[in-house]
């Protein structure tokens, strides 16, 4: 515990250093190095704590914060797992950020430096908060720190709008969480988590709480339809901050959901999970469909985060419904799948945002239409981006697949539930998840194929150069872990088993005959097992054999030539005719987008004899804006206009209004206290 608190204190010192010594040339090295060191300490502490079988039993009470309550801090197994994820993301982001700042020194070195460690400290504080007040303060601190980081690129087009939207949604989320905790702490006014845990809320209070937490934490995590701010804000920030926001901060929101729904609220009702399953499935499918429509690399990645949050929420929903129906072993399987996906997504999403940052550094562009052929110019980045793209598309033997596999195994247990509606819902959710996974594959073929393969679509892409060692190292670490966790997931699953046990009172490997540590064979996946290590070994062995046989026995001659460019002449014929991001997405846009987004392709064809080029424009409407946010915005505007009259009244009327409000409140107190 002391380690975590002192690491947080050290991060604050780093922030102060960033402000005080901002003229010093070596200050980025100090700040990023210090942040990485602080995160590394917490990672080691969290891993050791989990390996030791759980978290800290006794928390700290600091005499700051609300009077008579103080600030409660404690890190149980669940917190320790999330501390591990957050701070590991912090280490890689610091490594990458160090290289990134050097490449972009002139532009925005100033504001990012002090805020980066503050943001990390705030996320750590949310995870170790053990009372509602400390939690909410840290949560708001986290929102504001990340908001300021988004604003660090305020000169770029679109950033002010993104930041404003983020601020509105973050305030909305915090307000929801505030109300939720208010409901939880109602009787005694004791905000410590222990006190909340000790008393079961009434059915209606619990129901309100579930909805409020899904709104509050869901808006931070990016649940559809509250996701609208996420792609704008995440993509506007500098790339290492985008990685932290997308890969790590969304996980803090997932932590908040787990903390309240599995821990604080006590025994779940069956419909809580049902609601989560529905929104999770909607989020997963919509997120990836949005991602398929994007031309901006970072926005595409941010929408893909929305999709992955959907998958995680599906896993949490499954765990909740199985917990509610008293089948803890299957609940443990689902929760394990969810937590594993949390770890996996933080790895490959950080990796992919880093590669986007590297591409941005090298080409100055994040528009897919101006990239291409980077595999020749940036060989290391291209390999690492390929690992990230394959991992996020859930391809074996990488880590994304393991989480997906566990989740499908949990879904297959759906018929064991007593509620009919849930059975049908789980079948449909399974189909939606499968659809989202398959679409994610298409999305990342598009991302990788357009950005890294083919021919350069701009001069900058054709002259790009590989990025520096710091950035490459920052990308290589998560990439290596993507492979390692795909091949050997069981050690990590065993490591966070205490967290699963704490939440659902069972582990995924309960009453299963002993399996060696390199097999993945959870109990409730009846007789099913998966072994990434053997798969990788067999694939490697067969490939090597194949290469040897073919090159020994068959021809190994190669003749280089120019590819056929459909009759177009010139030095680089294929550059004119090659597929673009928009044309690659066209079949899927046509199959899905025409109904979901009302997407229309409009072709403007000049008259014969006219030499102007034909133009194709794609128009689409965002259903979240069209159906929810624009109407709400209009309503708020109207309401504000009406309420405007309140600003021009005499003092007598104001006093009357206050008196009336007081009377109404007293009546309410009198009625509810009876």
């Amino acid at each position: 515990m002391g380690f975590v608190v002192s690491a947080i204190a050290f991060l604050f010192v780093m922030a102060a250093t960033g402000v005080a010594a901002r003229r010093l040339p070596s200050v980025p090295t100090i700040v990023y190095g210090g942040s990485a060191a602080a995160c590394a300490i917490v990672v080691l502490w969290a891993a050791a704590t989990l390996a030791g079988g759980g978290g800290v039993a006794e928390g700290w009470v600091l005499p700051i914060g609300l009077p008579w309550i103080g600030t409660h801090l404690r890190a149980d197994a669940l917190s320790a797992f999330f501390l591990l994820i957050v701070n590991f993301g912090g280490i890689t982001a610091s490594l990458f950020g160090w290289g990134y700042e050097r490449a972009h020194r002139d532009s925005h070195a100033g504001p990012v430096l002090p805020l980066f460690p503050l943001f990390l400290a705030a996320m750590n504080m949310v995870l170790i908060a053990d009372d509602a007040f400390a939690f909410l303060v840290s949560w708001e601190f986290m929102s504001l720190a990340s908001w300021l980081l988004v604003l660090s690129t305020h000169r770029e087009e679109g950033t002010p709008r993104a930041a404003r939207l983020y601020l509105i949604m973050a305030s909305f989320g915090t307000a929801c969480l505030l109300l939720a905790f208010g409901l939880l702490a109602t009787a005694h006014g004791d905000y410590s988590f222990d006190a909340i845990r000790a008393q079961a809320p009434s059915v209606s209070a619990a129901a309100f709480c579930v909805v409020l937490v899904l709104l509050g934490a869901g808006s931070k995590a990016g649940l559809v339809p509250l996701h609208v701010w996420l792609p704008l804000a995440h993509s506007a920030a500098p790339s290492h901050v985008s990685a932290l926001m997308s890969g790590v901060m969304t996980k803090v929101a997932v932590y908040a959901m787990i903390r309240v729904l599995f821990d604080l609220l006590g025994e779940p009702a069956w419909w809580w999970g049902g609601v989560m399953l529905g929104f999770g499935a909607l989020t997963a499918v919509m997120g990836v469909l949005y991602a398929l429509m994007q031309e901006d690399v970072k926005r595409l990645l941010a929408y893909s985060t929305v999709e992955n949050i959907g998958a995680i929420v599906i896993a949490l929903g499954l765990a909740l419904v199985f917990k509610a129906s008293h089948t803890p072993v299957i609940a443990a399987l689902a929760l394990t799948a969810g937590l594993l996906h949390v770890a996996n997504h933080s790895l490959f999403k950080s990796l992919l945002f880093f590669t986007a940052g590297a591409v941005l550094t090298a080409t100055g562009s994040r528009d897919l239409g101006r990239l291409g052929g980077l595999i020749h110019r940036m060989p290391t980045t291209a390999v690492l981006a390929l690992i990230g793209s394959a991992a996020i598309s859930a391809l074996p033997p990488l880590n994304g697949f393991v989480g997906e596999w566990l989740l499908f195994q949990a879904i297959l247990n759906g018929p064991a539930l007593p509620e009919w509606s849930l059975k049908i819902e789980i079948a449909v959710v399974g189909a939606a998840l499968a659809l989202a996974t398959a679409l994610a594959g298409a999305c990342f073929v598009r991302f990788y194929g357009i950005a890294f393969l083919g021919r350069p679509r701009s001069r900058a892409a054709g002259e790009a150069a590989e990025v520096g060692a710091g950035m490459r190292l920052g990308m290589a670490v998560p990439a290596a872990l993507c492979v390692a966790l795909g091949v050997l997931p069981t050690p990590l699953i065993r490591l966070f088993e205490p967290a699963v046990r704490l939440m659902v009172e069972a582990g995924p490997f309960d009453d299963r005959a002993y399996q060696p540590w390199f097999w993945l064979a959870p109990t409730s996946a009846i007789g099913n097992s998966y072994n990434g290590l053997i798969m990788l070994a067999v694939i490697a062995l067969l490939s090597v054999l194949l290469v040897l046989v073919i090159h020994r026995r068959a021809s190994d001659r190669v003749r280089l030539s120019i590819p056929w460019g459909c009759g177009f002449d010139g030095p680089d014929p294929a550059a004119v005719t090659q597929y673009t991001a928009s044309s690659f997405g066209q079949p899927i846009r046509r199959a899905f987008g025409s109904t979901v987004f009302r997407a229309r392709d409009e072709v403007e064809m000049p008259e014969p004899g006219d030499t102007r080029p034909a133009r194709l424009t794609v128009r689409w409407t965002d259903p979240a804006w069209a159906l929810l946010f624009t109407p709400v915005g209009v309503a708020v505007d109207r309401l504000a206009e009406r309420a405007n009259r309140l600003q021009f009244m005499t003092i007598r009327r104001y006093l009357t209004l206050m008196f009336l409000a007081l009377v109404v409140l007293l009546v309410m107190v009198a009625v509810t206290q009876r």
Binding site: G449, G454, N531, M535, L542, P563
Partner: protein, 318 residues
């Protein structure tokens, strides 16, 4: 002893699928030719084609990357391994516990992912057409396939292929509407995934109507041989999969002797022959559909399989 025997069976299975795949393709081509009144080539022709391609030099685009050259090997290995995982003549395979049906689908997905990337590597428009259409087809075929897996595994309570085959052979399932729906959906998916008529035409020469062939247009020589062989393996894999789930009769089970294994091989060959003939009959009696109708075709498959799964979710209580 069992482990040794299972490893031996596994190796035999890997070699058997490799040896039979071109023959199956040759047989389908011959049957199609006969059905439309041509004499058709010998069923051994695919072997000759592959040998010829292997001996030819590779003509490589100047700007092809290492990925383009590595993909044929990777995708061939992935599909070969996947084909080796489907029990064909025996359920006693050494690799059976390492990968279940979900992993098998994901392995095929990996192969497709990399081939689609290779299609975009050179930067010609045909590669892009092929890749984007292939991914659109996959986006519908893969969930349909997973829902079929759900249906089957809810009945059998496992996703392990060997256990599914064992269970289906025991006859404890009986006739089920869900299984019929799953079978129809699986056949539809298999047709789409193998680029057969009416989704795609494996023999077309008009690039604009092609999907799979457009994607691999830049390949030549030994690379093309590998890609072609992988397609042949994939066709065999889907037939073996349908046979394994819906007609596992004749397969050798645990404790089966040499005779049972030989009988299993013969039964497998017979199933392939029948399957190939049915495929030829189907392909000659239907016309290719527009690419954008493929969505409706596969959407139908997805809904059928979802319906089958929902029936089972509802009918099988605790």
């Amino acid at each position: 002893m069992t482990v040794l025997l299972a490893s031996l069976y596994q190796i035999v299975q890997m070699l058997l699928v490799l040896a039979l795949a071109p023959l199956l393709t040759g047989w389908v081509r011959l049957a199609k030719a006969r059905l439309v009144g041509r004499r058709g080539p010998s069923p051994l022709q695919p072997y000759r084609d592959l040998r010829r391609l292997l001996r030819k030099e590779v003509v490589l685009a100047r700007n092809a990357s290492w990925l383009f050259r590595a993909v044929p090997y990777l995708m061939f290995t992935a599909i070969w391994l996947a084909a080796g995982l489907v029990p064909s003549f025996t359920t006693q395979l050494a690799l059976a516990p390492t990968a279940d049906l979900i992993t098998l689908i994901a392995l095929l997905g990996s192969a497709r992912f990399f081939l689609a990337l290779a299609g975009m590597d050179v930067g010609t428009s045909f590669g892009g057409i092929g890749s984007s259409r292939e991914m659109m087809i996959a986006a519908l075929a893969e969930p349909a396939m997973l829902m079929i897996v759900f249906s089957v595994s809810i009945l059998v309570r496992t996703t392990s292929l060997a256990e599914i085959a064992d269970f289906m052979m025991s006859g404890a399932v009986g006739l089920r509407i869900s299984l019929a729906l799953a079978l129809i959906a699986l056949v539809m998916v298999a047709i789409a995934e193998n680029a057969r008529i009416p989704i795609d035409n494996p023999a077309t020469h008009l690039e604009l109507t092609m999907v799979h062939e457009a994607m691999v247009l830049e390949y030549s020589g030994r690379h093309l041989a590998l890609v072609e062989a992988a397609s042949m393996l994939k066709l065999l894999l889907y037939m073996a999969l349908i046979a394994c789930i819906f007609a596992p009769w004749g397969m050798a089970t645990a404790g089966g002797g040499l005779l049972a294994v030989l009988w299993g091989v013969a039964a497998f060959a017979l199933k392939l022959a029948v399957g190939g003939a049915l495929l030829a009959l189907f392909e000659t009696s239907i016309a290719k559909m527009r690419v954008f109708r493929v969505g409706e075709f596969l959407g139908g498959a997805l809904l059928l399989s979802l319906l089958g799964a929902i029936f089972l979710y509802v009918s099988r209580g605790v």
